[in-house]
């Protein structure tokens, strides 16, 4: 599918620079300075700090330690008995791109056709979605959001869950190119019996191979386009190819949505052919290739753990997969692949912890690991001086469902812990008692 051709020639350089990280701190002109005192601080990159203090100023962490002076005029939060963590990062959602699942009007998660390299998620994000406050009040402050489906679904964006406009929310407008590596549909049905698909397996395999070839062709074409442009070729701009040039140059990572070992191997082969920078996502069978992935330093975003393994898989495969990968030295992060319940990111992680994921690694997998994977670890993912002040203050382990969130900061702003749900709760808590059934 070729987009309409523009009369202007889009300089390649402009496209290339567009995806460089630039957290929009300037737009959040926060004058408030906060001091969080007497907390147990989990910086993630170092040992926990007992009776710690954090100073938040101008959207950043200005100070953190056991003996930190509170600046005058700051709003003081006494966090005695409370715990502070970096804001959590969900590496796979459709937040802002969908509202009510069954209603197509607000659903921007699936474009027509198969190749949408030039579709960028950020500008379609609805900053006023009801789903956003619901998510961030549980400490998930930053997410990857993207459409899905097809072969090349488009470009995923990394966003903070606060901002008046999509641009304000954007942390990385172009975080990765999403590619759905094709699979042969499984022949195993719900009851463990093989179902007879409408078409023969050989047919389905040929179809899969054809779709894989299509991806190869698309990337080949992009490489040729990029090379030609570089040599000074002129002519009408091609946004589709232009969008893929950074991908084949290894500058824009590719987020491969894969599940089986077969798909993973295919994605790695594709990456090797074109010099791509792969990130695997989903990857429920990555445990089969754990050593390879660790040796090649390929990050894996696991989840959702709230999913059923295939009929012939061990019953705890999806729960145990993250732990196996982490122990093998793979850098893992988590996704909920959700929108309305992205808030449950920590509980996805808890399920993995119950089946072997180390608790420290569990915390890293939703903080510093995704920050590194997305190339924003200079600004996000840990509680260190200079980083963006995305913080969660809790009364217990954030992976424990029973824990209450006391404060959430996004870019140094204290986020009100209210959302559609708390409002309805308060409203109906206030309904006068009515014991009779009205007509």
């Amino acid at each position: 599918m070729r987009p309409a051709r523009f009369l202007d020639r889009v300089p390649l350089a402009a496209v290339a620079l567009a995806f460089v990280a630039a957290p929009a701190a300037a737009q959040q002109n926060t004058a408030a300075t906060y001091v969080i005192r007497n907390a147990t601080v989990f910086p993630v990159v170092g040992a926990r700090i007992q009776n710690g203090t954090i100073v938040v100023r101008d959207g950043r962490i200005a100070a953190v330690g056991a003996n930190v002076d509170a600046p005058a005029g700051a709003t003081v939060i006494d966090a005695q008995g409370l715990f502070v963590y970096p804001g959590f990062i969900d590496s796979g959602t459709q937040l802002g791109l969908t509202e009510i699942g069954s209603v197509p009007g607000a659903d921007d998660t699936r474009e027509v056709g198969d190749i949408h390299a030039q579709n960028v998620s950020l500008t379609a994000v609805n900053p006023h979605s009801e789903l956003i406050p619901v998510t961030r009040v549980n400490g998930v402050t930053t997410v990857i959001t993207s459409a899905g489906g097809g072969l090349v679904s488009g470009q995923a964006s990394l966003i903070d869950l606060a901002g008046w406009t999509p641009a304000e929310m954007g942390v990385k407008r172009q975080a990765a190119m999403v590619i759905n590596y094709p699979a042969v549909p499984s022949g195993v049905g719900r009851f463990g019996f093989e179902f007879r698909p409408q078409r023969a397996e050989a047919d389905l395999t040929r179809e899969r191979d054809r779709r894989v070839r299509e991806i190869y062709e698309v990337l080949h074409s992009a490489r040729a386009y990029g090379d030609a442009r570089e040599r000074g070729a002129t002519g009408p701009a091609d946004h589709l190819n232009a969008a893929l040039v950074p991908v084949v140059r290894g500058e824009l990572p590719v987020l491969f949505d894969v599940e089986s070992a077969d798909q993973i191997r295919g994605a790695l082969a594709l990456s090797d052919t074109f010099g791509l920078k792969p990130i695997l996502r989903g990857a429920r069978e990555a445990w089969l290739l754990a050593d390879t992935l660790a040796a090649r330093d390929i990050p894996v975003i696991v989840g959702p753990t709230t999913a059923q393994p295939g009929a012939s898989d061990p019953y705890d495969m999806i729960y145990a997969n993250p732990g196996v990968l982490a122990r093998a030295g793979v850098r893992i992060a988590f996704q909920t692949s959700d929108a309305s319940n992205a808030r449950n990111l920590p509980y996805n992680v808890a399920l993995a912890m119950a089946y072997g994921l180390d608790p420290d690694e569990a915390l890293r997998s939703i903080t510093i690991n995704p920050a590194r994977i997305w190339g924003v670890d200079d600004q996000y993912g840990s509680i260190e001086v200079g980083k963006v002040a995305n913080l969660v203050v809790t009364d217990g382990d954030p992976l424990d469902v029973r824990t209450k969130i006391r404060h959430v900061f996004i870019r140094g702003d204290a986020i009100p812990l209210t959302d559609r749900h708390t409002r309805l709760y308060e409203q109906f808590r206030g309904r006068p008692r009515s014991p009779t059934i009205p007509n």
């Binding site: 009510i100 699942g101 209603v103 709230t306 145990a320 808030r343 808890a350 992976l399 824990t403 749900h421």
Partner: protein, 484 residues
């Protein structure tokens, strides 16, 4: 000889007619339960006995089964938590539970040190073991029975056992205003389906309201006939119509019975009214002999059904999903209806857009008995994590949150005299965790039903297991060593 043949023939003919006149399930129950058969023969058609779940062939473990779970933290669901407690199981029932309970000689001892034991989890909304769950051609299919199509689902059932689930309420889907008879089963993995049915569980029936029944989320195919009802008003009209017909049907049969009993010798016997299996089922509902489980979302449709039930003199045993139940909690409590809901699933349909995770807490505060269900084989595996959300959102006390996946579900299904808590006399349906069930790193280690172990992680096919076996296949070190 001829006389014997004639009498035998007549007897056979009568039996044949009797068989034709009785509902197939009733016939089966009669075979299993001869006492009921005599009763039923006289009352054919009139308020026909609820198709009682057939009596199990092997309901409890063989006599002599003696199990003791020792030194565990026991969350009883009714009497608080017992530290370092022991549960003694005899013939499938809980014989003793407490901190100072002795282990009988000969008992199989399950060491509960460092373990937490809770009652087996009861899922009040399941579609497991069923492939076809909607007879979607008409909106009222009350007579259709889900137990007729139950089939083994070894993988799905095993994984639920691995999540501590022991009993399911298997329901039809929500395509129809009245979907059909339910089936309550215990997850006795490996036994025939008939042996999984929960003996003595009161029969139930699935109702549904709202978007699914109205089929408004289906893409409209031009030329395709739309099915009535398409509006919520239509759902109400349909319910009132069908229950009115059920009342008339009951009156017709009562009149017939009166006339039949009053008929004098020599008088012509009255002709019975035509049997209608659907209306028979609805008469059971009218008479409170079949528990109604009603899928519903919106506050107004919940009130509508409460009103219909009140007008026709029956109670709704449980509203299912009932995501706006918090808006009409008083009305639910006043009607004595239970609520079986999702912890925090929302925004998937318009009628779920006002759903809040505080639903459970608000309804509980107003006196409603709330259970948390799965409506999903996947969610059923982690209902213990879902239950903890009742604590997070609205501060439900811990033991009440536990009851939401155990005792309250049992009560809604009418089986709380048998399961749902760890008390002497109840069935030994138990889930054993390696930590507090609501704590983040906890998982199920063992699941028992009727005192028999149906899931044991130490012998389960785990990922670790699979990896170990793969290693052994690729590195047969032992084989080469022994060859030398």
């Amino acid at each position: 000889m001829i006389m014997t043949d004639f009498r035998r023939g007549a007897a056979q003919a009568l039996l044949g007619i009797a068989a034709m006149l009785t509902h197939p399930a009733t016939a089966f129950a009669q075979q299993a339960n001869p006492a009921a058969a005599a009763e039923n023969a006289a009352a054919v058609g009139v308020a026909a006995p609820a198709d009682t779940i057939p009596v199990l062939r092997a309901p409890v473990p063989p006599a002599g089964t003696l199990v003791a779970i020792t030194n565990a933290t026991i969350m009883t669901a009714t009497n608080g938590t017992i530290e370092r407690g022991t549960i003694v199981i005899r013939n499938g029932r809980i014989a003793a539970v407490g901190a100072n309970v002795g282990v009988p000689a000969g008992a199989r001892v399950i060491d509960g040190t460092g373990r937490w034991v809770i009652p087996g989890i009861i899922d009040a909304h399941s579609h497991s073991m069923s492939e076809a769950i909607n007879e979607g051609t008409e909106s009222i299919t009350a007579q259709v029975r889900i137990q007729d199509i139950l089939r083994q689902d070894p993988i799905g059932v095993y994984r639920q056992l691995a999540g501590g689930v022991t009993t399911l309420n298997i329901l039809h889907g929500s395509a129809n205003t009245i979907g059909g008879h339910n089936a309550v089963v215990k997850l006795r993995w490996g036994l025939p389906v008939d042996s999984m049915l929960f003996a003595g569980a009161p029969p139930g029936i699935k109702f549904a309201l709202g978007e699914n029944v109205r089929q408004t989320n289906r893409p409209f195919t031009p030329g395709q006939q739309q099915r009535y009802p398409r509006t919520r008003q239509g759902v109400e009209a349909l319910l009132r119509d069908v229950f009115t017909r059920a009342q008339e049907y009951r009156a017709d049969w009562q009149l017939y019975e009166q006339q039949r009993r009053g008929a004098r010798r020599g008088q012509a016997a009255p002709i019975p009214p035509k049997r209608d299996l659907q209306l028979e089922t609805l008469v059971e509902v009218l008479e409170g002999r079949r528990l109604v489980h009603a899928h519903s979302y919106r506050a107004d449709e919940i009130l509508m059904l409460l009103n219909v039930a009140r007008d026709f003199g029956f109670r709704i045993a449980s509203f299912q999903h009932v995501l706006e139940g918090y808006k009409v909690a008083d009305e639910l409590a006043a009607a004595g209806s239970g609520a079986s809901t999702f912890a925090d699933n929302w925004a998937f349909k318009i009628e779920a857009f006002d759903a809040i995770p505080h639903n459970m807490a608000l309804m509980y505060e107003r006196g409603v008995r709330v259970s948390i269900n799965s409506d999903s084989d996947e969610r059923a595996r982690r209902l213990y994590q879902e239950a903890a959300k009742a604590i997070k959102y609205g501060g439900v006390p811990e033991e009440e949150a536990l009851r939401m996946i155990t005792l309250h579900a049992a009560w809604q299904l009418g089986i709380d005299d048998r399961v749902g808590s760890i008390e002497v006399g109840k069935d030994a349906d138990l889930a054993i965790f390696n930590g507090h069930p609501f704590a983040p790193a906890s998982r199920v280690e063992m699941t028992l039903i009727d005192g028999r172990v149906f899931f044991d992680r130490s012998t389960a096919p785990t990922l670790e297991d699979r990896m170990q076996r793969m290693r052994e296949r690729t590195i047969p070190v032992a084989a080469t060593e022994s060859a030398r």
